[in-house]
């Protein structure tokens, strides 16, 4: 009964990979997802502030569209990015097919709506009177925005973590635009932890898939701890 065994004893399984291979996969995963999340954050927070505090026609619609973006199917996002960067696509001359940069593009598209949507909820809950106070003390728009971000810091940190979670855990789009390529020397070119997990699972090597999954979860935990530390909040209480 190998399945049962494998569930109960994943830790007694010999570590089945070369460290070199694992290291290169981790590097690609982190490079792609962190870059994508940093870019999404830089894009999303200003958008959330604008949408949250400007009144305009179609605001409800725009909010719905942002929230809908949290449900974009990653395979479709992958296809769209593939079209864009493919040889015949608009960015064909940049030679981005099957590169980490293409993966960053697709993860950006996946993470940005999550970060925007959750940040929007967070900044919307900042009391108007605190924003007014910043304005009254002579703050510029940028100052008011900064105060809002600081008041909503816990919610925004959650938004960034949710976006990071979505980016680093998704497999559909990076498989399509990245190609899950490992070189013949056994180091990853565009193979991430998730695509490697998928590969192991395809091969029925469920234990090794679980080991890679555990590595991924530990990485996410570490990144979360760092973000929480930088966010300056222990969470849950403000």
């Amino acid at each position: 009964m190998p399945l049962e065994l494998s569930v109960l004893s994943p830790l007694v399984v010999d570590f089945p990979f070369e460290w070199n291979y694992i290291r290169s996969i981790i590097r690609v995963s982190l490079y792609v997802s962190i870059t994508a999340v940093v870019l999404s954050t830089l894009f999303s927070i200003p958008v959330a502030l604008l949408v949250g505090f400007k009144d305009f026609r179609g605001k409800t619609l725009l909010t719905s569209i942002i929230n809908t973006g949290m449900g974009f199917p990653s395979v479709v996002v992958g296809l769209v990015v593939l079209f864009t960067v493919s040889n015949e696509g608009p960015l064909g001359s940049w030679d981005l097919v099957f590169t980490p940069e293409a993966m960053i593009m697709s993860q950006f598209v996946l993470a940005a709506p999550v970060i925007t949507g959750v940040s929007l909820a967070a900044v919307s809950s900042v009391e108007q009177n605190v924003r007014d106070a910043a304005f009254a003390m002579g703050g510029t728009r940028a100052d008011v925005a900064l105060v809002t971000i600081k008041e909503a810091r816990y919610g925004i940190a959650t938004a960034v973590l949710a976006g990071f979670g979505r980016a680093i855990s998704e497999v559909g789009s990076v498989l399509i635009v990245g190609g899950n390529i490992a070189g013949s020397d056994g180091t990853s070119v565009t193979r991430t932890l998730t695509t490697a997990i998928q590969l192991e699972a395809r091969q029925g090597r469920f234990e090794t898939a679980m080991i890679l999954g555990a590595i991924l979860v530990v990485l996410v935990l570490i990144v979360n701890a760092i973000v929480v530390r930088l966010g300056g909040d222990t969470g849950g209480n403000r």
Binding site: E127, N129, V130, D132, A133, A134, F135, A136, M137, G138, G139, T140, D143, V147, K150, E151, R238
Partner: protein, 255 residues
């Protein structure tokens, strides 16, 4: 610099709050605005603080209509005004950071960034003016406490100190002593008078008729969407021209 409201109309949605309010406050004078709850005192102070553009009429600063100038220019005007809200509206940070806020936003970004970094690594030096302002309201020793954990009156005093710290030319105070005991009220009133003596113009919305009598040079009575009377404090309290003013002051006016 004189702050003027010239025939200002304003309202929320379709309900008007004022229909034609005119008012002037000069440097070195204290103008009290009195009127019953919900009449629009806070709304008027927000207009004077350049928060919202009035639906009609003009707000002028030094004779210039502030809503006709560039946003950059308006920022300059705003920075010469200090406002204390009816609610304390403190930032979720330490008392000291609250008090420093007005000074901080006036610094160039490079300085601010440097200061934030210094704070991160633990080397911080409290800005003198902010600490002085906290000293004025008797809360110097609370500087490092979290603003959210202050008592009602402490928060109100921090909000006052926060506006005082950057030394504005014009102070707009919305019920600044509503949560204070007599002694702390006196401290704040002293600070207001001291500011006036330095040539600062003060507008104070207050429900406390005694307070208006104590510190105001002039009083404006806001009633029924209008300023029904404005004049020297003594005159308003002793021989109001409008019967409604007398009734309001005596606490007999029912709304």
């Amino acid at each position: 610099m004189t702050l003027t409201a010239d025939d200002v109309h304003h309202g929320y949605g379709t309900d008007p709050v004022f229909e034609g309010v005119s008012l002037t406050v000069a440097p070195g004078e204290v103008l009290a605005i009195i009127g019953p709850s919900g009449v629009g005192k806070s709304t008027l102070l927000r207009l004077l603080a350049l928060f919202d553009e009035p639906d009609g009429g003009a707000i002028e600063f030094g004779g210039e209509a502030v809503w006709d100038v560039s946003e950059r220019k308006r920022l300059d005007y705003r920075r010469r005004i200090g406002m204390v809200f009816q609610e304390a509206s403190l930032f979720d940070a330490s008392v000291r950071r609250n008090a420093e806020y007005g000074l901080r936003v006036r610094k160039p970004w490079s300085d601010r960034l440097r200061h934030e970094l210094a704070t991160l690594v633990g080397r911080t030096n409290g800005t003198g003016d902010a600490i002085d302002a906290l000293e004025t309201v008797g809360l110097r020793e609370k500087a490092e406490q979290d603003a959210a954990s202050l008592s009602g009156g402490e928060a109100q005093r921090v909000a006052f100190a926060r506006a005082l710290a950057y030394d504005p030319e014009m102070l707009l105070l919305d019920e600044p002593t509503s949560d204070l005991d007599p002694r702390n009220t006196a401290v704040l009133e002293d600070a207001v008078l001291e500011a006036r003596n330095r040539g600062i113009g003060v507008v104070i919305a207050t429900h406390d008729m005694h307070q208006a009598e104590r510190i105001a040079d002039r009083v404006a009575v806001l009633l029924e969407n209008q300023i029904i009377e404005v004049g020297e404090t003594e005159r308003i309290f002793e021989m109001p021209r409008d019967d409604r003013t007398r009734k309001f002051i005596d606490g007999e006016l029912i709304y």
